[in-house]
């Protein structure tokens, strides 16, 4: 049973990756949004340099808004294309949730992989602690996906989509943003793992709680 389950979840993931590679539906939106925001900020600042705390906040603001523009796609496109009903007759909700969650994590990882070097370059950021910096980003991505994947499913069943996704996600994401910005701050200032300890604990706890809650509640949203 469990090996069957994993294969099926991976099949959902593979299907979404394959479709994404052919259409570039989400990745384009994500990257262009993030990149444009970065360029606008950098350009507007001109010679001015930003303090470290502003820099860490800026990074997560960009990721947050980019996510709001594209992460609900994974469910919205199923509802719009009428493939959601077909899926419901072929797979358990948990399989679909798992596949889509990993897909969103993957999407954000690619975004950050592309964005981070550009961010460091454009904003002239010095990163004294690269391992910590990257770990915080990764944990932030997992938490972000964990919280917003189910909200994407919720929004796919409603009709205002875009604005609603941000409205629903923001209160839920606030703890994540606090922790991620704090952790990034520690990485950029150089206070190291000790300074980031609370934030990392929070990031991990947040990801666990959100993914567990989503896994439990997803059935209701998907079949509701």
């Amino acid at each position: 049973m469990s090996s069957g389950w994993t294969t099926k979840a991976l099949a959902v993931l593979a299907k979404d990756i394959r479709t994404e590679l052919r259409t570039r539906y989400s990745l384009n939106a994500l990257f262009m949004f993030a990149f444009t925001t970065l360029v606008v900020v950098s350009f507007s600042l001109g010679q001015l340099s930003l303090g470290v705390q502003v820099l860490s906040a800026l990074y997560w603001i960009i990721i947050f808004f980019a996510s709001m523009s594209a992460l609900s796609g994974v469910f919205v496109k199923e509802e719009d294309a009428k493939t959601a009903q077909t899926l419901r007759l072929f797979a358990r909700p948990s399989v679909i949730y798992a596949g889509k969650l990993i897909y969103n994590i993957l999407l954000l990882t690619i975004l950050c992989a592309l964005l981070t070097p550009l961010y460091v370059a454009f904003m002239n950021v010095t990163v004294p602690d690269w391992p910590l910096f990257l770990v915080v980003i990764l944990l932030g991505i997992i938490g972000l996906s964990g919280a917003t994947t189910i909200i994407g499913a919720i929004v796919a069943k409603a009709n205002v989509r875009g604005a609603l996704f941000a409205v629903l996600s923001f209160p839920v994401l606030l703890p994540l943003l606090v922790a991620a910005i704090g952790g990034t701050d520690a990485a950029l200032v150089g206070t190291g793992w000790a300074g980031a300890e609370n934030h990392i604990k929070l990031l991990v706890a947040y990801a666990v709680i959100m993914i567990t809650a989503s896994a439990v509640l997803f059935d209701f949203v998907w079949n509701g």
Partner: protein, 206 residues
């Protein structure tokens, strides 16, 4: 497998509008049922309730294997449906759709089996094309291939011959006759030709 589908005092309302009233019937495998009624009489709604996609407002739909009732969340393993409201993945090819859905259904399909499925629905040369490039009739046929790959015990067909030419209709007739002798078949349609092939017909107009 002594499969039966029982509908007990089924009711469905959308707010004020009562669509299905106090419907009751039983059907066992092997067997077939036709559902008919004018547009808006609730055929598709009934089909969705039979396949456990939407809950009734009152009454229940029970699918039983012998005496054991199958849980609602597990019913999808026993039935497949074809409906204008259910589509396949346009950005995948015919073969890819078959592979994807067969993995989800836990069914192994080698190349030969995939080809024979496509042949059965008259799509033998189109497996490598994206579904987006299919005509509406071809998309309908592929839906049959996907529904049948899981060898469903219960097959629900909502508007079975929509978008199909004579060749397509002949294919569907063959599928229908095979299904009703081996399992359970439920059709929702207004086409008299299709209704001729089922044992009983329910009208939803009263």
């Amino acid at each position: 497998m002594a499969l039966s589908l029982t509908v007990e005092k089924l009711n469905k309302s959308f707010g004020v509008r009562k669509v299905i009233r106090e419907l009751s019937f039983t059907i066992s495998a092997p067997g077939s049922l036709g559902i008919t009624g004018r547009n808006g009489s609730g055929k598709t709604t009934l089909m969705k309730m039979l396949s456990q996609l939407i809950p009734p407002t009152g009454g229940r739909v029970a699918i039983r294997d012998g005496d054991t009732e199958i849980a609602s969340a597990d019913c999808f393993n026993y039935l497949k449906m074809i409906s204008p409201e259910m589509a396949l993945y346009e950005m995948l090819t015919g073969y890819e759709n078959l592979k994807f859905f067969s993995t989800l259904a836990g069914v192994r399909l080698n190349q030969i089996e995939q080809d024979s499925l496509l042949e059965r629905v008259g799509l033998s040369t189109r497996g490598d094309d994206l579904v987006a490039a299919y005509s509406s009739g071809m998309k309908q046929r592929l839906k049959y291939a996907v529904a049948l790959l899981a060898k469903p015990a219960i097959l629900l067909l909502d508007e079975p011959t929509s978008n199909l030419d004579d060749a397509g209709k002949a294919i569907v007739r063959e599928i229908i006759s095979k299904q009703k002798s081996e399992g359970m078949l439920i059709i929702a349609t207004n086409e008299a030709e299709d209704l001729k092939q089922v044992e009983h017909v329910i009208r939803l107009d009263n």
